[in-house]
């Protein structure tokens, strides 16, 4: 067993255990913190996949922005749903059954994948220069890139509009 495999197993175990805690933890704040641990495990796996850039982006976007936003939202809405309340709805068993069936189906497909040997990368790391050019290249990904930026602006404006305090007399 090589070092990379050991790191993979450790990171995978942390990610998976943290993910299970996210969906089962009775206290929502703890669920948010477990979510952060799970996302950090994914970042480690990104580094193992020779993509340090996306690992850093994962930390910057997911942990620093999304997870903190989620925790703030949990804090803001904590008053109505105390941690002693039931957290799993009445279809909990059915949901567990459904996700287990999904897992079985996915595993059945995954195990058919031939054990591909890793293709040699042109460079050791992801080529950031090529990535940057591809994102704004007419033959590359300029359309999705621009659409994504428009979508982000729309989400920004929409979120502010939706979350704004309702006008008086509403």
């Amino acid at each position: 067993m090589t070092l990379a495999q050991l790191i993979f197993l450790a990171a995978a175990a942390v990610t998976l255990v943290a993910a299970i805690m996210v969906v089962t933890s009775p206290r929502l704040i703890h669920a948010g913190l477990w979510l952060i641990l799970s996302l950090a495990g994914i970042a480690v796996l990104f580094i193992l996949l020779d993509n340090g850039f996306l690992a850093v982006v994962q930390v910057a976007i997911y942990i620093d922005a999304i997870a903190i936003l989620i925790i703030i939202a949990v804090m803001l809405t904590r008053a109505v749903m105390s941690d002693a309340d039931r957290q799993i709805n009445r279809m909990g068993l059915a949901a567990a059954f459904a996700s287990l069936i999904l897992l079985a189906g996915l595993l059945a497909m995954v195990l058919q994948v031939p054990a591909a040997s890793p293709a040699p990368l042109v460079e050791a790391e992801v080529n950031l220069d090529a990535l940057g050019r591809a994102l704004v290249d007419v033959d590359g990904f300029i359309l999705p890139f621009e659409v994504a930026s428009v979508m982000l602006v729309a989400a920004l404006v929409g979120a502010i509009l939706v979350a704004m305090a309702p006008a008086r007399g509403d």
């Binding site: 703890h30 850039f53 850093v56 930390v59 942990i63 620093d64 903190i68 703030i72 804090m75 950031l128």
Partner: protein
């Protein structure tokens, strides 16, 4: 002995291989040793900077400052650390035990992690990754998470308020900070910290982008939670903010994280805008680079302390308005102008420094003009608002 750091590394490596270790394991061990030494040194530097800060603040406020323990009070911080270590680490009733204990660790880890990519001297850098600037931003914001954890787990309303203030402040000031960090990245053509330093061999980026440097400095002060942005631990409003329930070394770690963070931001500023280890004679003696780096960092750190001793605290609405209505739009304008001009300079073969300096001067003039117009309109509005009020009070007097 052209490069002492490589020599030391080679020596330890050969020693370990001589002891019968595998080469791959040795490389990993060397990394761990290097990280421990760097982290330890940065932590130890905090003890010194605490002394310097207390002494300087005292002088600014016409006091003498620590002067009992050791010469010039130099050992005062050691005495404080000893005191904090021997004190009990209390966990309040109703606190979220594990989160409460983890919070100071996360804050310290986030700050010390930033040093992993800091180029200290030519060839002396923890690890050179091609997304260094992004890494610094990502790891630096982990501290926000730690502060949030402290606020949530303390079971104390002041701690919670402090944590909310911190998160609001840090999340919003990250926007101008990122925008201004992109300008040196554009000028150097790389996000790697060493490459940015090497790109400043002819002209420091503070000459090419003075406005970006100022905006970066202000927003990193806010990120630090230093005066005038120390709303998160405003004593007169929310007692001590997020670390109100911490005692003993838990409190000590928050304090240490704060001082190391201030020092780290100074180091980051000197790397990105003041050329890091660049200086005369660096090619011949790499160790001189370390000296230049520390000198520049100390200079910036002095300015941070100076501001702390000079400015009063902002109100929370002023803090937010300053960010969203002034700093962020300005950073956007500077960013766009720099991007366009830098492309034009490359094509038209102008003097790069002169063009960027000129464009920055024009932006400053434009900003001042706009601010003046805004102030004039505010004055006019205030006059209009005041006029009927005076008549009203006269009528009441009659």
């Amino acid at each position: 002995m052209s490069d002492p750091f490589v020599t030391i590394g080679q020596f330890i490596k050969e020693l370990l291989i001589g002891l019968g270790l595998e080469a791959a394991l040795t490389a990993v061990l060397l990394r761990i040793v290097g990280a421990a030494v760097l982290g330890g040194l940065v932590g130890a530097a905090a003890i010194l900077t605490i002394w310097a800060e207390r002494k300087l603040l005292a002088r600014i406020q016409d006091r003498i400052g620590p002067n009992r323990v050791g010469p010039y009070g130099l050992l005062q911080s050691f005495a404080d650390v000893l005191k904090l270590i021997t004190k009990e680490f209390l966990i309040p009733r109703g606190a979220d035990r594990y989160v409460f204990i983890m919070a100071p660790l996360v804050v310290v880890a986030g700050v010390i992690g930033m040093w992993a990519v800091m180029p200290l001297a030519p060839g002396l850098v923890g690890t050179e990754i091609n997304v260094g600037v992004l890494y610094v931003i990502a790891i630096g914001a982990i501290g926000t998470l730690g502060i949030m954890m402290a606020g949530l787990s303390s079971n104390n309303k002041y701690a919670l308020l402090g944590a909310f203030r911190t998160v609001a402040q840090m999340l919003s000031y990250t926007v101008p900070m990122l925008l201004t960090l992109l300008i040196p990245v554009m000028l150097a053509g790389s996000m790697g910290m060493s490459t940015i330093v090497e790109a400043q061999s002819s002209a420091w980026f503070i000459l090419l982008a003075p406005l970006a440097a100022i905006i970066f400095f202000i927003s990193s002060l806010a990120e630090l939670g230093r005066t005038p942005f120390d709303l998160q631990e405003a004593e007169s409003e929310i007692v001590a903010g997020f670390h109100i329930e911490y005692s003993g070394m838990g409190f000590g770690m928050f304090m240490m994280a704060e001082f190391v963070h201030a020092f780290t931001i100074s180091a980051l500023f000197s790397v990105i805008f003041l050329g890091g280890w660049q200086g005369p004679g660096v090619e011949a003696f790499p160790l001189l680079g370390l000296f230049y780096f520390i000198l520049k960092t100390a200079l910036i750190y002095f300015v941070v302390i100076w501001l702390r001793g000079t400015f009063p605290r902002l109100r929370i609405d002023q803090m937010n308005a300053f960010n969203w209505k002034f700093i962020t739009p300005l950073a956007l304008v500077v960013f766009m102008v720099t991007a366009i001009l830098d492309k034009l300079v490359v094509q038209a073969d102008f003097n790069r420094t002169a063009v960027h300096l000129g464009s920055n001067a024009i932006i400053v003039l434009g900003t001042l003009f706009l601010l003046r117009a805004y102030a004039a309109s505010q004055r006019r509005r205030k006059e209009v608002a005041d006029r009927p009020q005076i008549q009203h009070s006269e009528a009441a007097g009659d």
